[in-house]
Subunit: 259 residues, 2 copies
Amino acid sequence: MSATAAEASIDAFHRGRFFLAQPLHGGHRAGMDAMMLAAAVPSDFRGLAADLGSGAGGAGLAVLARCLQARALLVEREPAMAAFARLTLALEANADLAARASLLVADVSLAGRARMEAGLADRSVDLAIMNPPFNEARDRQTPDGLRKAAHVMDEGLLERWIRTAAAIVKPSGTIALIARPQSLSEILDAMAGRFGALDVKPIHPRPDADAIRVVVRGLRGSRRAMRLAAPLVLHEADGNRFTAEADAICNGLASLFRD
Amino acid sequence: MSATAAEASIDAFHRGRFFLAQPLHGGHRAGMDAMMLAAAVPSDFRGLAADLGSGAGGAGLAVLARCLQARALLVEREPAMAAFARLTLALEANADLAARASLLVADVSLAGRARMEAGLADRSVDLAIMNPPFNEARDRQTPDGLRKAAHVMDEGLLERWIRTAAAIVKPSGTIALIARPQSLSEILDAMAGRFGALDVKPIHPRPDADAIRVVVRGLRGSRRAMRLAAPLVLHEADGNRFTAEADAICNGLASLFRD
């Protein structure tokens, strides 16, 4: 699969602040998850942020759009999705953000020398964000090959991605990830001894509903205990409109945490 | 230390539905935590509930007051606190609840034959609730000996208590515990392979504040994934009054989960 204009849709994010070239059919399309992940980055962040498993670049560009002193390294394994990221960075409307971004085609789950040879060097970034693929296959079949690659979580994949993040961030660097609540135990185990000062932010579709996502942020090497933050609620109890907080977060106007 | 009327205060719970004889000075005094833990029990629960580390019996009696088909076994290691539980059960005002309650002086952290010889038999209860002691010593000194016993969490204590709960509940029996959010990783690890279908309920003092407690409930032997429930918020954003939900839960008028 190659990315051409005919196959791509050009979608506006952050109220037109930037655009993503995304596969029109199949493949992983960025949305709320990428925007909420990017919102975990403090607004005053400056330095190099790695967007691990970037897809078309949604989370990485959302960081660049809100954090004007940030640079981003998009890391994507799938050549077809990396091609969409390349299209995204080539869009005229993204020129100012793309000047602070670069793309690396590499597999985040590599370790040791293989990881370093793929371009993911030790202590090379200030922050790593990730929206790791998760196993939707148990819930419903996803026949499309690319979509499957983005959603089917191998056993231990979360641990491998967090291990890579721990290797590539500088001392006292930051990690942030978005995942499903049922992965929380695996996430906390993988963070142990690598990242501390964890902030866990539950995300609920409505005020009374169970959480559908958690965002977890941590500091490399910190020993401070975990905190469970007040949740983000996406929609009001009645109707489908976003809450004011969710609207601000998804449009790059607010941080997910009180920084 | 022996419990006499001179040392005890008699405190009303559930708007006078029952009373606790508690140490006036020092020792662990039951309060919100015990009431929120008891609220994790479904209102239609019937059978035998073990209140592990019961102190004066607050959580156990709160279960009896709301679940009219329930019986309770209060399990307390400290003889001085067990004496307060005995006083509680002897109070005239508690006579109807006390008829469904018994007391066992035993150490919840025992294992194997020692546990069984202490009176905690395998598959003997339908439900186990616990408010395990936690380490407040790191935050502030607690010079009083009894209070220290109730609050200082040994390394691995949570794991030992959850192991005991797994041993004493019947197949598909229930566990519920209340703990601090920073213990969540240890709790999830100790639950793994023992209890599934975990429901995690964060408890926040105010809508925008970090959680101060989590209540975790699970089913013995279940493999269903964890759920992260909508939080309980104790106080309105302004002022010190309880939210309607917190008031109902602390007074035995509602369950913590939607059962």
